[in-house]
């Protein structure tokens, strides 16, 4: 429940917003007051969340409508800013209710989705309302326009970078896994490698990018090489930690079955190391994307997301830069999400997936 004074303050803001010249329409203020009153009543969370979400969407629509026609901007549009302030408090109020909804699972995603949408909306209204120069920060709709208009350029860029990322991720993770299995077999190697791999975590490995560009040329191979080296160490360290994480009791059981190293590895230790391996795969998905993009700053053919970003920054086409960043962000999240799904399929037995 929202503290009462805060709700009253929100109501005042909304009423004030209605009276301002050039502010949002009366409909907006009416909806706002209705929403605040809703928050005051101890309604069941689902009903309130539904009504609140609808009211929020209507208010947002009205604000965008007010912005789409010529009117006062910046410090003169105080009606708009008051309305935005009230809207933000109302968002908090609805979020507070949404946070109570956790099950079924899709409902649990409502709160983060609302917060994300609200931040995006605030960005849009603030940038358009204050007429921020596009060179500094483009509005989300401008980024969307750029994404659509330059899709024929950005798609090849994306493909170029994605090939490098996937190749580097697969090679680096595969090599890390292989060396970890070898080091697990040869204890001397493990004791020699583990401290060094730990040190590698403190070292900015991305710095090898210029060397790899010299060795493997400007094309995607050099980016894949950087990604492979960067992703090698997390996989090595995580796999070794996972292989060591088996209970003494379980290992003893395998010994009573007279299981050899191979059987113990395949039937007990590898399965129980899987969560660690997947954790490394997830960390590596982000690392590979970052290192490929950074490597493209050092020299690339005239295609690739990193190249596009550095080239368009120099030409002050900031909306295209943001479009490229958006594309990279979506790809990164999708890659991560995909690995998480595969992880769920492989390690469904792990306690962290058990529903309480």
């Amino acid at each position: 429940m929202m503290p009462r004074p805060l709700v009253m303050f929100a109501a005042l803001l909304l009423v004030g917003g209605m009276g301002q010249p050039g502010g949002p329409s009366g409909l907006l203020a009416l909806l706002g007051i209705g929403g605040v009153l809703l928050c005051l009543r101890a309604w069941p969370a689902p009903a309130l969340a539904g009504i609140g979400l609808a009211a929020l969407a209507l208010m947002a629509w009205a604000m965008l409508l007010a912005l789409s026609v010529p009117g006062p901007r910046g410090a003169d549009a105080n009606g708009l800013w008051l309305a935005l302030g009230g809207w933000a408090i109302f968002v908090w109020c609805v979020l507070d209710r949404l946070a109570l909804l956790q099950r079924p699972r899709p409902l649990g995603l409502l709160a983060p989705a609302l917060l994300g949408a609200a931040l995006l909306f605030a960005w849009e209204v603030l940038v358009v309302g204050w007429e921020v120069p596009r060179v500094l920060l483009p509005a989300p709709h401008a980024v969307g326009d750029a994404l659509a208009a330059r899709w024929h350029v950005l798609w090849p860029d994306f493909r170029q970078t994605a090939v490098a990322v996937l190749a580097g991720w697969a090679i680096g993770s595969g090599a890390g896994l292989a060396v970890a299995l070898l080091a697990d077999r040869v204890d001397f190697l493990r004791r020699g490698l583990l401290p060094l791999a730990g040190l590698a975590g403190a070292v900015p490995i991305v710095g090898i990018a210029p060397i790899m560009v010299m060795w493997f040329g400007f094309d995607w191979q050099s980016k894949a090489a950087v990604a492979a080296v960067v992703t090698f160490f997390p996989m090595l360290v995580n796999t070794l930690a996972g292989l060591a994480a088996v209970d003494t009791m379980q290992r003893d059981l395998m010994r009573t079955y007279a299981a050899g190293h191979g059987a113990t590895l395949m039937k007990l230790r590898m399965p129980s190391a899987l969560p660690f391996v997947f954790n490394a795969l997830k960390i590596n998905s982000t690392l590979a994307l970052i290192s490929a993009i950074v490597a493209e700053f050092f020299g690339s053919p005239i295609v690739g997301l990193g190249f596009r970003i550095s080239a368009e920054v120099a030409r002050m086409n900031v909306d295209v830069v943001w479009a490229a960043i958006t594309l990279a962000a979506l790809a990164g999240s999708a890659f991560y999400g995909l690995i998480a799904l595969v992880e769920r399929a492989f390690t469904f037995w792990h306690p962290s997936y058990r529903s309480s």
Binding site: W92, L95, D96, L98, A99, L100, G108, L109, A111, P112, L115, G116, L136, L137, F188, L189, R190, R191, G192, L193, P195, L196, L199, G201, A202, V203, P204, V206, G207, I208, A209, P210, I211, V213, M214, W215, V237, A241, S285, T286, L289, I290, I293, V294, F297, F298, G299, L305, I309, S310, V313, V321, A324, I325, A328, A329, G332, S333, Y336, G337
Partner: protein
């Protein structure tokens, strides 16, 4: 862990400790030596084509010794030999005045200042977010998923953007580099601190409730002290990523100073040895910073009257 057990782990007899250190250092030394041997061999193999070209150009007969010697002493080798890197590093660290742009110490200092500033920013942001997440249901449910999602985004791609925008607003490059570092290193701090602030047991929280402690008192007297080991574990990760952020922040602007600028100019002019010695400096800087956080952790632990084993230490 009982007191006896921790004492047994922390300090066996002095002689035993030396023996233990020896048996731990020996495999590492062997692996490093093998690595160096492979490196020298690779230097010959990778440099051979160009060396052979030059030796043939001289018109004199040559054999394997000449080839190897020439491959290990090229001016712009494809792969420099380790001693070339070490000599270049030594020369540029001790052979120049500290404030001269030829000195690696100067460049490391520039990067270090951005790293530390970004680290402080990141710690503050991370701790503030964690306190918010722990004390507010809305932030816990609504914000935490976005904090996690933010790490699947290649944030370094924004680096050129941040440098240009903050630069045109009149901020010095130091600030924009620190902002990039902050972006990178707040995440482990937030996640670690959320875990740490929630680590007090129900019994302890109930005790404070019987004292009718306010939420802010609970935070200050129980949750924050309990979270300190987690904070330090996160800080070790954070300072390493902060260094990466500072170096990458120097790339897109063609900055004049800093280890990143050194890498960039080395790659423009094909000065491979310069790139490698800048890398060596960055590696040393990273290891030193992480070790410094470790020392700070031990000091704070001793000052607080215990030396709790930090979570995730053994990994």
């Amino acid at each position: 862990m009982t007191a006896e057990a921790s004492a047994a782990l922390a300090g066996p007899l002095p002689g035993g400790r030396w023996q233990a250190a020896g048996s731990r250092a020996w495999p590492v030394a062997v692996v490093v030596a093998v690595g160096l041997l492979v490196w020298y061999a690779a230097a010959v193999w990778l440099n051979a084509p160009r060396v052979i070209e030059r030796l043939d150009g001289l018109g004199q007969p040559w054999g394997a010794p000449e080839l190897v010697a020439a491959a290990w002493s090229m001016e712009r080798p494809v792969m420099p030999a380790p001693h070339q890197i070490a000599l270049d590093w030594w020369g540029s660290v001790f052979g120049n005045a500290i404030d001269s742009p030829r000195s690696l110490v100067f460049h490391a200092g520039v990067t270090l200042s951005a790293t530390l500033l970004g680290f402080v920013f990141g710690m503050l942001l991370g701790v503030a977010l964690a306190v918010g997440v722990v004390s507010s249901r809305v932030l816990d449910r609504g914000l935490l998923p976005w904090v996690i999602a933010s790490q699947t985004i290649p944030i370094l791609a924004i680096a050129p953007m941040v440098v240009v925008v903050l630069g045109s607003l009149g901020y010095p490059p130091l600030i924009s580099k620190a902002v990039i570092s902050m972006y990178l290193c707040f995440f482990p701090v937030t996640i670690g601190m959320v875990k740490g602030l929630r680590s007090p047991e129900t019994l302890q929280l109930d005790l404070l409730r019987t004292y009718s402690a306010t939420p802010s008192q609970t935070l200050r007297k129980l949750r924050l002290p309990a979270a300190l080991p987690f904070l330090f574990a996160s800080a070790r990760v954070a300072i390493a990523t902060s260094l990466v952020g500072a170096i990458v922040g120097e790339l897109p602007t063609g900055a004049a100073a800093g280890l990143g600028a050194r890498l960039l100019s080395g790659s423009y002019f094909g000065q491979t040895i310069q790139i490698w010695s800048a890398l060596l400096m960055a590696a040393l800087l990273g290891v030193t910073l992480v070790a410094a956080v470790g020392v700070l952790e031990r000091l704070v632990g001793r000052w607080m009257g215990s030396a709790p084993a930090a979570p995730g230490r053994g990994r």
